[in-house]
């Protein structure tokens, strides 16, 4: 059942060096606050899993928290490159990063297989592409009824899932609405889960829309308003497109990146102080 913890405590309790971590969010509801807390606590040797690693994964990679990245699209959406990810791949900065690379369809299926307790998923992807040549986790098998070839990938079963949602009730039932990506599957596929929320309310349900993840699938809920910034939380605040654009400048050079992270992340006590510092310096 769910514990209500502050974010520092939740990360300290549930995230260990070497863990497989899926901090998911498909453009919407990306758990930035939780990601920054991992950096503050200097938790290392992580295998980071995410379909669309963006700024927060760029930061984790740049700060050396990740040994491996499992992903299907690594860019700054609508902007361009993730420079910390590129430097890790192209030049091993700050250290080499192992990649397990997929397409979206493969990862969505692999999460669902993980949530369903299956060892693998089947779909029809990757035909005619180079991916099976570079990823040994892509295999093929024959339909036992028709003989047709299908594609198989292993299930994703993280140690910890981290997501951000709009609301939780006081028992720890979580409610999210809008673009839901693979968040529910990631939570159900993981041994433990941390959910940061905008608001804690008396009751959540689906009668006016949205999706509820029941409390017994959630390990910890943390009340972190604005916790998805610079991503957005539908009904609470919009996406800071300006920050995504500025990240391109901040992150392009490794030294400038380190300086920025030192000042705003390592140098601040928690997410609230980080946001206040960003505000003071005109980032929000």
């Amino acid at each position: 059942m769910t514990e209500f913890l502050d974010l520092t405590e939740a990360i300290r309790t549930h995230l260990k060096p070497g863990n497989v971590v899926a901090a998911e969010g498909f453009t919407h509801l990306i758990p930035h606050a939780a990601g920054l807390e991992i950096i503050r606590q200097e938790i290392r040797h992580l295998t980071l899993v995410r379909m669309t690693p963006d700024i927060i994964y760029d930061q984790l990679v740049g700060m050396g928290c990740a040994d491996k990245l499992v992903f299907s699209w690594g860019g700054n959406p609508g902007v361009g490159s993730l420079y910390r990810l590129r430097d890790a791949c192209e030049q091993g900065i700050p250290h080499a990063l192992e990649l397990e690379e997929h397409a979206h369809a493969a990862m969505a299926n692999a999460y669902t297989a993980g949530a369903a307790g299956m060892p693998f998923a089947i779909f029809k992807g990757y035909r005619g592409t180079s991916y099976p040549d570079v990823n040994p986790h892509i295999r093929f098998l024959d339909c036992p009824f028709t003989g047709q070839k299908v594609t198989a990938v292993p299930a994703i079963r993280p140690d910890v899932a981290i997501i951000h949602a709009q609301r939780a009730d006081r028992e720890g039932n979580v409610w999210l609405r809008g673009i839901v990506g693979v968040q529910k599957e990631a939570v159900l596929a993981s041994a433990r889960s941390i959910v940061t929320v905008e608001e804690v309310v008396d009751r959540v349900d689906e009668t006016k829309g949205g999706t509820v993840i029941p409390r017994w699938a959630v390990s910890a809920v943390c009340h972190v308003p604005l916790g998805a910034f610079p991503s957005y939380a539908e009904g609470y605040y919009g996406r800071s497109n300006a920050f995504y654009l500025r990240w391109g400048e901040v992150s392009r050079d490794y030294d400038r990146f380190c300086e920025w992270m030192d000042r705003f992340v390592i140098g601040t006590r928690d997410f609230g102080h980080y946001l206040l510092a960003l505000k003071q310096h005109g980032y929000v």
Partner: protein, 268 residues
């Protein structure tokens, strides 16, 4: 009547928009495809259903999204589905008619690379990767490819095949057992390439106004075949340009006040 002035990019977007049918169902990414679809829906394709891979089905943005998961897309969508459902049921299940693709590299059979330039293990340039492109390429009934034409982008041999076109040409794609018919056209800033009905090699079939056939051949990294009769694209109309230029990007959100109200005066 004076000729309207337009950029090569505007020509590309207009040419792409015209390819969409009145009641098309189109899967789109950010950038030029998004502009093309939004232009089409505001001109000849009033019943166009636009789908972005974040899970928004039949969306009607009033502004151009910066990302495929822009709030504007879910706010105006008829339905928002999980990424699992989007890829398995809608794409792989064969329910999407038209897809737009782009890439860093294309070869003569319309295969695409958006993964790496150079060797996969030690890339010269690490690109974002596959995303939904392999499935769009395989499962949409037809695709259109949009990219700027140069010897760096239209290459003799891809460094990596991210998304399949006509594979090795002729009927080789048929052996993959995927429902989509493959890329129907490559729309560049110089002109139009279409697959030869037998060889499935992309052939120059039209150039945009003011572009020579030689310039298009010169900007291609393989010996580009030229159709017996090369057409000229109809330039953008004043109406098309007006609508296209009226499309505004989605605005950034300012959370400054919210930061103050939540966190000023001491977060714990």
């Amino acid at each position: 009547m004076s000729e309207p002035v337009y950029t090569p990019e505007e020509m590309m977007v207009v040419a792409a928009a015209r390819r969409l049918d009145e009641d098309d169902v189109v899967f789109i990414g950010i950038g030029l495809p998004s502009k093309a679809a939004n232009l089409a829906r505001r001109t000849h394709a009033r019943h166009l259903s636009m789908i972005y891979e974040s899970g928004t089905l039949d969306t009607a943005p009033t502004v151009l999204p910066l990302s495929i998961g822009d709030p504007e897309l879910s706010r105006t969508a008829k339905a928002v589905v999980s990424v699992f459902e989007m890829f398995n049921c809608w794409l792989q299940g064969g329910w999407i008619r038209t897809g737009f693709l782009s890439a860093a590299q294309i070869d003569r059979f319309g295969n695409l690379n958006s993964t790496v330039i150079g060797d996969y293990g030690s890339p010269r340039v690490r690109l974002p990767g596959a995303g939904g492109a392999p499935e769009i390429a395989a499962f949409c009934s037809r695709t259109f490819i949009l990219l700027r034409q140069s010897r760096r982008s239209l290459v003799e041999k891809l460094d990596f095949v991210t998304s399949v076109g006509f594979l090795e040409g002729e009927r080789s794609r048929d052996g993959l057992d995927v429902p989509g018919r493959g890329p129907q056209a490559v729309i560049t800033d110089l002109g139009l390439l279409e697959p030869h009905p037998e060889s499935r090699e992309f052939v120059l079939t039209a150039v945009h106004p003011g572009v020579s056939v030689e310039a298009a051949v010169e900007a291609t990294g393989w010996p580009l075949q030229v159709a017996d009769s090369v057409g000229e694209t109809t330039p953008p109309t004043t109406g098309e340009l007006e609508v296209l230029r009226s499309l505004k990007p989605s605005e950034t959100s300012d959370i400054g006040d919210k930061v103050s109200s939540h966190y000023e005066g001491g977060s714990e």
